[in-house]
């Protein structure tokens, strides 16, 4: 005969759920309901104020026929490729160098990582100053004697995006380095010793054994940097203000100006949904594989 559960115990069983539920609901609403809301607006004819009608994919068509959006997407592509490539490569190099039992390792790690503690606005402001042709690097090199040296990328429509890459790489390399360093430190030392006994030199050991073992770290770095790249908004605004012209426009800035400045709420929402779908396409498989692996692996 199962005993009747007293009310107090029943309450105690439900307490965890009661405690979790409010904040959970709020977050789920703030994330998923809002996403759906934005989605609805992207399917409506909203302009200055939201209008909850349904016009199908009209806003998306309008979006994709806007030249400014094309620029933004192309910029995202160029930026992401360079940003990811350079940051990952540089981060890996730094981690490998730091793994060589360096005396000032702690200090160097602090130096490489501090940019991550800064707001992108601060970073943008500082680099805007450094890359200023009249007063920054170009002027310095000119003053040193090389008068024909030109470095005015930030004012050139075709090259401005590379300035954004430079500043973003500076800010984020420390992060890639930290993850790779953690990965390197997790490698079983006896594998390295075995390779040394077999006669492999250090470069060979890194190339054939260590770097392949860092595959999970690579994955984490690339996924997270991609996320940063798609989101990047503050940096562009501070560094170039999406200029010159709209040469450094990116989907994130496009969305903001479309929605809050140019009274194109529907198009803005559509661009936001495009951003979301891109992020989801990268993040969801990654999260799924991570969670699955942990369920199996443990």
């Amino acid at each position: 005969m199962p005993r009747p559960i007293p009310l107090s115990e029943r309450f105690a069983n439900w307490l965890p759920r009661l405690v979790l539920t409010p904040s959970l609901l709020i977050v789920l609403v703030a994330v998923y309901l809002f996403i759906a809301w934005t989605g609805w607006i992207s399917l409506s004819s909203s302009k200055i104020v939201p209008k909850y009608d349904f016009v199908g994919l009209e806003q998306y068509f309008r979006l994709w026929s806007t030249p400014r959006w094309h620029t933004a997407v192309a910029n995202l592509f160029i930026f992401s490729t360079l940003f990811l490539g350079v940051t990952t490569g540089l981060g890996l190099l730094m981690a490998i160098l730091l793994d060589q039992k360096i005396r000032a390792e702690g200090a160097l790690r602090t130096i490489f990582l501090y940019p991550m503690a800064l707001s992108f606005i601060v970073t943008g402001t500082a680099w805007k100053w450094i890359l200023n042709p009249a007063l920054g690097v170009q002027k310095m090199v000119n003053d040193m004697g090389w008068t024909s040296f030109v470095f005015d990328w930030i004012a050139q429509p075709t090259f401005a995006i590379y300035c954004v890459v430079i500043a973003a790489v500076w800010q984020s390399t420390g992060f890639a380095m930290a993850i790779f360093l953690a990965g390197l430190r997790g490698i079983d030392n006896s594998v390295i010793k075995a390779a040394q006994i077999e006669g492999a030199g250090l470069p060979r050991i890194y190339r054939s054994i260590i770097v392949p073992m860092l595959r999970p770290a690579f994955l984490s770095v690339i996924v997270l940097l991609s996320y940063v790249a798609i989101k990047s908004f503050d940096l562009i605004l501070a560094l170039t203000g999406t200029g010159p012209g709209s040469a450094t426009e990116m989907p994130s800035t496009f969305m903001y100006s479309a929605t809050f400045r140019r009274d194109q709420m529907g198009v803005g929402a559509a661009s936001a949904m495009m951003m979301l779908m891109t992020v989801a396409a990268i993040i969801v498989p990654y999260l799924y594989s991570e969670l699955k692996e942990n369920r199996d692996g443990h």
Binding site: A12, P16, R17, L20, S23, V27, A30, V31, Y32, F34, T38, I41, P50, L93, M94, L97, Q100, I102, I111, F112, L113, P115, M116, A117, L118, S119, I121, V122, T123, T125, A126, W127, W129, I130, L135, G136, V137, K139, W170, G174, A178, I179, V221, L224, K231, D234, G241, S252, M255, T259, M265, A269, A272, M273, M275, L276, I283, L287, E290, L291
Partner: protein
Amino acid sequence: MATNATSLRRQRLIGRTVIYGALLFMAAFYLMPLWVMIITSIKPLDEIYAGSFIGLPKHITFEAWRSAWSEACNGTACMGLKPYFVNSILLTIPAVLLSTSIGAINGYVITKWRFPGSNVIFGLLLFGCFLPFQAVILPMAQTLGFLGLAGTLPGLILVHTVYGIAFTTLFFRNYFIGIPDELVKAAQIDGAGFIRIFVSIMLPTALPIIVVSCIWQFTQIWNDFLFGASFTAGENAPITVALNNIVNVSMGRKQYNVDMAAAMIAALPTLIVYVVAGRYFVRGLTAGAVKG
């Protein structure tokens, strides 16, 4: 045999020199912007226009700092950064405390009081960490309007808390999952209830992750721009928004030293936190890289 030993040692020496050289070169590259910001902010304006951006100042003056703090113009007012600095403090501290507390409880429930669907819920929360905020600022703006919180600091606190919960829950969940379930079961047998277990068992061991969570949240919220720009205006804006306005407002000759001083003021709190508690910052980063 002897020559082998010496050539081995020489090879090693060359290798070490190259490694240290490369590292120092990169360190210089990473320190350069900070250096530039600092020295530019203490140079008089004439020197900036005349000299090199990287050179030491001939005269040092803190006039730019004073100006940035109390006089700089941001397009609508000329009150310097001070009021916005205060705004950021009023914004960040409550948001950090709230999101950390809620995250701690959530993490506790998810790991120690599992119920059907808790994994799914965790997955949903996890994706929330990667949300591109552009996808939600429109509805959030509408909601804040409904709640009468549009353009206010409490509204911004609410926004940061809500989106911070995803991260803090992740931190605490990853941490508490390492605490053996047997501890909780033993406490239950001893008669401890839900709250008592949280307070007496989980919290005392959770100090490191509480620090990580606070530092991470502080950095994220203090450095945020998008939410600040979207949901506040004018005198309620946080410091990042004010900084951007100051730098982009050009009236007459551009006062680069003031701009740099302003940037430094905005950067100092998170920089100081980083220098003091850097190792917790790193733990936050690598915990966020999801090794669940």
